[in-house]
Amino acid sequence: MTEVNIREWIMTTDHKKIGILYIITALYFGFLGGTLGFLIRQQLMYPENNLLTPQIYNQIVTVHGLVMVLWFVSPLAFGLANFVIPLQIGARDLAFPRLNALSYWLFLFSGLLAAVTFFLPGGTIDTGWTVYAPLNTAKYSPQPGLTLAGIALLMLIASVTLGTINFTVTIIKMRAPGVTWSRLPMFTWGILLTVLLMLYAFPSVTAGVILLAVDRVLGTTWYLSPEGGDLLWENLFWFFGHPEVYIVLFPGLFAALEVIETFTGRPLYGRKYIIGAAATAFLLSLIVWGHHMYTTTIPPLIKKFFVAGTMAISWPFGIITILAIISIVGGRVRFNTPMLFALTSIALFVIGGETGIYNASVFLNYHIRGTYWVTAHLHYQLAGATMFGIIAALYYWYPKITGKMYNEKLGKLHWLISTIGFNLLYFPMFLLLDMPRRIYTYDAVTGWAPYNFYATIGSIIFFLGHLLVGLPNLIYSAVKGRPAGPNPWGAWTIEWTIPSPPPPHNFDTIPDLRSGSVVYLNGGSVNVAHHEKLSITPFTLSLGLFIFFLGFMTFLPLALVGVAIFLIGLFKWYVDDISDRYVSEEPEGLEEYPYIGVAKEKLGTWVFLASEILLFGALIGSYLFVRANSSTWPVGYAVHDVSIGFINTIILLTSSLSMALALAYIRKDDVKGTAGALAMTLILGLLFLIIKAFEWSKLYEEGFTLTSGLPAVTYYTVTGAHAAHVIAGLFGISYLILKTLKGGYSSRDYNGIWNVGLYWHMVDIVWVFLFPLFYLI
């Protein structure tokens, strides 16, 4: 192994290095979260055990859940995706390498921020990973650690959103010739479905956490009011929470299917139908969130709707499972470690899926909800089906990533220990049908002791199996393993046609799959020089945010340091962008019809706008939710000055016009006109904010304050979120002005103006909805 150059790793924008960073970081968070889970089991090993206090236990239970789902399983899969997907589709990198680095550093620092919360006075978040209202409010959980954990979550969501944009654009736009949708490898399909689902699901929880942060920091009452409260949070949370289950599942499931195809040596049976079934499950997952709310007060008919939806969603998964088994028939199955983990993943998925059907039944759910049955079920899906699939993927691509072969005997031992340990750990929990979740101890008379004891023994086997067999194998073999060669498994996908580990530029020339076989254009000679463009800004920006938020909750001067670092990073990004340092050279022949006309950045902007619109949808939805639950809501024009609102509406609409004008000017290469129109937009945007500030101060004087009830709370939160977007837009516009004056845009290249312009129009359109919703009705 060559010497590790730390500077290069911090500044890297190479998808392979970032993938490795993701994998290592996720494994580290997995170790932390796993240790917490291990502690839970030690505490519950015997009845009336006193290893942990309830205060500590609640924190451990909560952070274990959050870390395992959000900072371990998903990022581990995305580490693999980072490394593998550009190789599988024949691309040199992801669509936006620097944003990819930013995703990683935001992920790392958000995790560290979450970890720090343990050491704050009063400890960290202790509400259970579902963070139900109103236990999550400052009234019942005053510790700053909870607020900081929420902020860490928002930082992670920022990372996820960037990743979503990056992977969507990459998979749609960067496929090599001949890599058609029907030829896309299973793992890439899985990641595509995952990111689309992320795009749809995350804005809802983003809104939920923003409202929580506003409640906790500014003292508003979204979650303390009867009109909002528990049901508002539950709807926002589970609207995200159920798709999240599939967000976590899809990468592991599809990796397992790809491994099964390779080690069976025959094509998957009904490959198209598997993808179709997964897409169906994707759509159904959007309408099943209510099955987490059967025991709440939602009406019976709605409950029935969710029962039907939830039962229906097991149907596509049943089909996928059966097709996976038929795929094996007539093959030549090689039982290497990845295959053993993949097959076990399918088997555990059957058990996890079947037990899920119990939960879907309202009547069973009345009792099951909140018991260890649910714990058992969800761990069969997440720690079982998903994790075993991802471990299969880790062993499968290990030779490609490191260039070395892991030790097969140790790998099989790892599988054996994991399978035994897993089932001993989680199966007894199905039998703990009456035991409530998240209790830190129990009486001997309950009869729960033996099952808890077995589960703890299982946890020791499971935990130590990973720690003493799995991990050492991966570390030791990376150094001492025998060279793996380009294609140790005889797999068909493109990544196995290049050396292991792949060269920095991945492909000497672009692979071509149009003939049905991989051939390299130009006979394989190098046609594009590839230099990795190092950048420190993703690290700087993330570090700045980390220090800012940490300071904000602990020691304010530190927050100023954070702001300074962040602004330096932002300025550096500006400078780099204006000089076009990071524009990537496009190799010929990468674009696939019908996407040839859409630039990567444009598509990325559209994906980003979709997530923004969903975020505002969730915020406006929350406003309408509390308003519909209230009987005494004052009509908008009685509180607000309609004329001021109307003037501001006109100002924003005019600024949209001037933005369109800027685009028209640059198409005619009129730089001065462009800069003038942009300056006009900037001034109008500022004017909007000034009028808004005036309007708010007047409302405040009239007693319409953050603590004066929900009409004010909803107004300030939603229009405040909009104002924050206006401010972000002004940063974007001032960047455009600088770049225009430097001659950065012309009639041939005005993507920047087009993208920021589109964002600006979106911000204006949101206001067109907010104005009548708050001022007129």
């Binding site: 109103p134 959980s141 528990d230 025959r266 998957l268 030549r332 409530p436 196995w496």
Partner: protein, 231 residues
Amino acid sequence: MNLEDLVLHHRALDAPLMPSKEWWGIFNLFTTIAIVIGSIVIGSLIIAAVKYRYREGQPEPSDSIKPGRVPSERGGPKVIIVITLIVVVALMMAEGSTFTVYDTYQKFAESSMENGDVLKIEVTAFQWDWRFKYPNGVETVGEVYIPEDTPVLFIVTSIDVKHKFGIPELKTGVDAIPDDMGYLWLYVEDPGEYEIRCYELCGVGHTFMTGKLKVLSGQEFVNWYSSMGGG
């Protein structure tokens, strides 16, 4: 109908309404289906993998995976349709049973509510205990008395955070949500003492947020109730 008539001269119920019996009925049905299907599916997975394991010198299938070559498609719509039907039928069985019981339960709940022949008890959850209020204003904390063979409606709310009012042995429960009301129907045939537990994490006292449900015979209940000032 006054309370004494309700408790002592209750009408004969035409549907089995003890929640735990219904619950175990569905649970056992689901478990039977799950074990049968699960064994078949996981069994075929193992058998297929072992039967078609790699053997030295075995002829290669015509459509085998080749490095760098896109694999051919296999699997036609006919097989998929058959699989779909099998999965749908299995799900319908489960779904049907759930809906039938749920409907019966709802109808009973609604008709009892209309006829007024039900004992209504208000339950207020708080960190970390339960308060019960009877129609005559009698209040108890931590334990609640109900008569056997009588429909009882618990109207459940909370004054602080979210809890879940659960009676594990009777296999039922409902969320206790502040400023909202959850309904929980009970019809218990066997007198005795049942445990009440909180099933939603509600703070440091969650573990010990337990209570007692005491089911008395009709006469015992009437005696207890009048001794508390009711009737």
